[in-house]
């Protein structure tokens, strides 16, 4: 067992030690995305497919950079990143740029950042650090619970105010699964579940905006608004369903050609795959995602430090939730909330966030033997 103290020591050998399964799977998914975006834009490379490819390549480099950075750096930065993200979120509250009726963006000089996107990995970092530092026996204690609750609730409330229901639920779910993984007692889990169930009507009444309530109601009863929000879902289901077992063939989707499914380069990209490659293609896509998640879990199990494990698992949870919510929405199982399909949907921020989190996972795995301070 070699113990390295130098954060950037032995970059060459580290590249060897990186688990290459995850990057390869991510690359395959990205390629699927390139082809799907190509089809969604009638085979025109310059209408997104090329940009997607370029972004993937760029994000791949970022991932490697993150992976090669010593996990101690990330460990040290966990709280600062979280607090910067929190400050940015507060900044959105006062200085945010309004896009399509919700204030999610912050203009910082030439770049426009979406603090809620930064917050997703930041919450995971902070919680992983929190549980790493917290003695195991205090996980279910009032102090442990209060700390975790604060780390989750503060960003959640700020994101909800933007309003961005999807991201705020994502943060909540990721946070909850980390609390669960950290080993909180079953008594607390049941209590928490009951509290969550009770709070639903309260959130419905005071936490949600009218359009959010409308979306959920439309989801429950599509007849409320046949031409509006449910049009999305109806057309999306038609695209998927008409694909049948083996699909209509690459670039042959009629729903896609007719432009019946809106946003089919971004959130509804899986309708293109489902329509043109059918059930077989959809299952293959799901299979790919399962493989990615399994690879991530394997990485976590090969780590020893609580921080590393929880970091990997937390980021994996976020990744998995993206997939669940996106596919559930496209298939009409969940309301339309505007969550992209990671690596496949067109959009730079998500690619960067996902590849960045893969980088963090790989960093944790490469530096599995690095000791992190712990005070049990």
């Amino acid at each position: 067992m070699t113990v390295r103290f130098e954060e950037f020591d032995g970059v060459g050998s580290k590249l060897f030690q990186i688990n290459w399964l995850l990057p390869v799977l991510a690359g395959v998914l990205g390629l699927v995305g390139v082809l799907a975006i190509l089809s969604a834009n009638n085979g025109i490379w310059t209408h997104g497919a090329m940009q997607h490819g370029v972004r993937l390549a760029f994000a791949f480099l970022i991932m490697l950079g993150v992976a090669l950075t010593n996990i101690r750096v990330w460990y040290t930065l966990a709280y600062p990143v979280y607090f910067v993200a929190l400050v940015l979120l507060v900044g959105v509250e006062f200085l945010g740029v309004n896009v399509n009726g919700s204030v999610r963006w912050l203009q910082l000089g030439p770049i426009r950042v979406q603090p809620s996107e930064v917050m997703k990995p930041a919450v995971v970092l902070a919680l992983a650090r929190f549980y790493h530092d917290l003695p195991a026996w205090r996980v279910s204690s009032p102090l442990g619970l209060a700390g975790a609750l604060f780390l989750i609730a503060a960003p959640m409330a700020l994101v909800l105010r933007q309003p961005d229901l999807g991201t705020s639920l994502l943060i909540a779910a990721t946070g909850a699964s980390l609390v669960f993984l950290a080993g909180v007692s079953w008594r607390i889990i049941s209590l928490g579940s009951v509290l969550a169930a009770v709070s639903i009507p309260v959130v419905w009444q005071f936490g949600l905006r009218a359009y959010q309530r409308e979306r959920i109601l439309t989801f429950i009863d599509p007849a409320r608004d046949p031409a509006g929000a449910s049009y999305h879902i109806t057309q999306s289901k038609i695209a998927l369903g008409s694909g049948g077992l083996s699909g209509k063939g690459f670039m042959q989707g009629t729903q896609r050609q007719g432009g019946y499914v809106p946003e089919n380069s971004t959130d509804f990209i899986s309708t293109v795959i489902g329509e043109e490659f059918g059930f077989v293609g959809s299952l293959a896509l799901i299979g790919l995602y399962i493989a990615v998640i399994a690879a991530c879990i394997r990485l976590s199990l090969q780590c020893k430090a609580v921080f590393s494990r929880l970091l990997i698992l937390g980021l994996t949870t976020t990744f998995a939730l993206y997939i669940f919510i996106n596919l559930g929405m496209v298939m009409g199982l969940l309301p339309v909330v505007g969550v992209p399909l990671p690596l496949v949907s067109y959009g730079g921020t998500v690619i960067l966030a996902v590849m960045g989190s893969f980088g963090l996972m790989l960093s944790a795995h490469v530096h599995a033997d690095t000791l992190l301070p712990r005070n049990d």
């Binding site: 007719g258 399962i290 020893k304 609580v306 712990r374």
Partner: protein
């Protein structure tokens, strides 16, 4: 830090928490797999189980049918001449999305074709209401010159296309307007009672009046369908002729009318108002069914101006009113044949019996005048018709009673609809006590009988009904009814059931009217065809009672009255006398005495009808050939 990791007391809880995390990871992993299972199950449901449904829905999304409007059937006369035809309708179509600056484009267009401010406003409204790729009609029913000019310069006007569509047109400036009718766009009421998809097509025209309306089912044809593929915005992506159905052109409809004879009749009327019906006495086929003056039904198709509409509505000759068919006129003396036949049938009147006419008859304290002030002297039945002596009928009607007269009038085809098949046919009125009680709630007076006996008072008939009456008298055996649609199955006519001897007496009397010197409508060689005699009867229907004051002022002279107060001129006739072919009923509104205007028109029309039927002297050419 080293101390931390090497402290043996702290190692155990770390291992323990490691194991806990692993267990929890496994639990969460299984949960995640479960969610993926749900997603896969949902995919199975959508893409395998309900796939056919969704495939059908996606086809529905994609495919649409465009209705193709069939050509409308042609309405023709008995010889095939078109009375309503389809002609090219020159239009300008404009596709908004291909035009950058609508004002500029319309400005350029109006340099070539005249566009009124109203048309420009209409185009702008249509453009703002419809999606950019839907063509808007900028101008309809263009002149050929304009259309040709536009075609020459179309290349300089992107987004503007000259188009030749199909439109309905009626030759002869409305010679058949009343009978053939016209077409128009389907209105809300039409759409409500007819679910044919054609009615929703902008290019489709529906029969609104006359034959166009009555035979619309046959004329309309069957809509075709063109399968088209559309995108989410409704734009046509491509056409699929394979799955399309051709439109079936509407059937041609043949009428019994003779266009040339109708044209000839219209010429005879000239400026006069009224109606004339020429009918085959054997088959009941109508050769002419003309109402004067005419109006141009083409204007109802291409768009009526308010000015023309006002002109039509304010014309005291009421051009739109179908006088020959829907009109109700007192038959006046033409009713006397019915009275005569009723009298003969009653057996109470001997045709040789003479009645003295002193120019008037007193009934109670009322005086009933004969048209001849000084009286006809001693009059028998034949002479009474020949001279149209009113006194004779005043007297015999009191003997036989009004019921007998009304019954005979009905048997001759008056007071009833004949079901020719186009809308607007009127019953007319054949009054009797029962009718008066029901309609007016008043009792019948002998005065009413006297008025009825000379076809005045309540009696109303249409020119067509008069033709039917004349045809039945001429036919003598069957109760002929008129038909307008050629080639339709007609049930054999019922027996007329009038004693042939009586009919012979009436026919002879009608002959004397036109063929014997002294008859009210006598002209040597009346039909203009040597050797062909006609039989007829004049009628002069009083429009307004002449008061004593009028008489004193000399206003009873008909031609000095304002037009609308003058008498109607009526004439009925058939020919040839010995082998009848055609019967005519004619009313000239406010045309004065029946022996004048109406008789003149009927003589020429009847002569022309016979000539066209191959009787008597033929055309000019035929005569010349004879000479040679």
């Amino acid at each position: 830090m080293n101390a931390l990791s090497t402290d043996p007391n702290k190692k155990k809880p770390t291992a323990k928490s490691e194991a806990l995390i692993t267990r929890r990871t496994a639990a969460l992993g299984v949960g995640g797999l479960g969610v993926f299972g749900i997603l896969a199950g949902r995919l199975y449901q959508l893409q395998i189980e309900q796939s056919e449904n969704y495939l059908a829905l996606s086809e529905d999304n994609r495919f649409n049918f465009r209705t193709i409007v069939p050509s409308r059937g042609i309405i023709r006369d008995r010889y095939g001449e078109a009375l309503a035809a389809n002609t090219l309708n020159y239009q300008i179509e404009l596709v908004p999305e291909q035009i950058d600056d609508l004002d500029l484009a319309l400005g350029r267009l109006s340099n070539i074709v005249s566009l009124s401010d109203r048309e420009i406003a209409q185009v702008k409204r249509d453009v703002s209401r419809k999606p950019g790729f839907v063509p808007v009609t900028a101008k309809d029913h263009m002149e050929w010159d304009d259309f040709a000019a536009l075609n020459m310069r179309a290349h300089a006007l992107p987004g503007i296309t000259p188009r030749a569509g199909e439109g309905r047109s009626y030759p002869d400036d409305g010679l058949f307007s009343h009978v053939v009718g016209y077409v128009g766009k389907a209105n809300d009421a039409d759409v409500a009672e007819d679910d044919d998809p054609l009615l929703l097509q902008p290019g489709f025209r529906l029969g609104k009046t006359g034959v166009e309306q009555a035979a619309d089912d046959r004329l309309r044809g069957k809509a075709g369908r063109l399968q088209i593929e559309v995108n989410a915005r409704g734009r046509v992506v491509r056409e699929w002729p394979g799955k399309s159905e051709k439109a079936v052109t509407g059937e041609d409809v043949y009428l019994t009318l003779d266009a040339d004879l109708q044209r000839y009749a219209a010429e005879q009327f000239g400026e006069d108002a009224g109606g004339i019906a020429v009918m085959d006495v054997m088959t009941g086929e109508l050769r002419t069914l003309l109402s004067m003056p005419l109006f141009d039904s083409n204007l109802f198709v291409s768009g009526l101006t308010q000015a023309y509409m006002d002109k039509l509505n304010n014309d005291e000759k009421r051009p739109q009113y179908n006088k020959v068919y829907s009109g109700g006129y007192p038959p006046a003396s033409t009713y006397k044949m019915a009275v005569m036949l009723a009298a003969l049938e009653s057996g109470k009147i001997d045709p040789r019996q003479r009645i003295f006419c002193g120019g008037r008859v007193r009934l109670g304290n009322r005086l009933f005048h004969c048209w001849k002030r000084q009286g006809h002297g001693s009059v028998d039945l034949r002479y009474s018709l020949k001279q149209s002596c009113d006194t004779y009928y005043y007297e015999i009607s009191q003997i036989i009673g009004v019921e007998a007269i009304a019954d005979m009038a009905r048997r001759l085809g008056l007071g009833q609809r004949h079901g020719v098949g186009i809308a607007g046919e009127q019953h007319g009125i054949v009054p009797d006590p029962a009718w008066k009680r029901e309609r007016m709630g008043a009792g019948w007076h002998m005065g009413d009988t006297l008025n009825s006996s000379i076809g005045q008072g309540y009696v109303l008939t249409s020119p067509m009904q008069l033709a039917v009456m004349t045809a039945r008298i001429a036919n003598g055996r069957s109760a002929v009814s008129p038909t307008l649609f050629a080639g339709q199955d007609i049930a054999p006519f019922p027996d007329l059931d009038i004693d042939p001897d009586h009919l012979a007496i009436v026919q002879d009397a009608m002959w004397s009217v036109t063929q014997e010197p002294g008859g009210t409508a006598y002209r040597p060689n009346g039909t203009g065809l040597p050797g062909i005699d006609m039989a007829g009867k004049t009628g002069t229907a009083q429009v307004r009672g002449i008061s004593l004051a009028d008489r004193a002022a000399g206003l009873h002279k008909n031609d000095r009255l304002p037009w609308k107060y003058r008498d109607h001129s009526l004439f009925v006739a058939y020919a040839p006398y010995d082998a009848p072919r055609f019967a005519v009923g004619c009313v000239v509104e406010h045309g004065g005495s029946g022996s004048g205007r109406a008789a003149a028109i009927v003589r020429s029309v009847l002569g022309e009808a016979l000539r066209r039927d191959g009787l008597g002297q033929q055309t000019q050419n035929a005569t010349e050939t004879d000479v040679l």
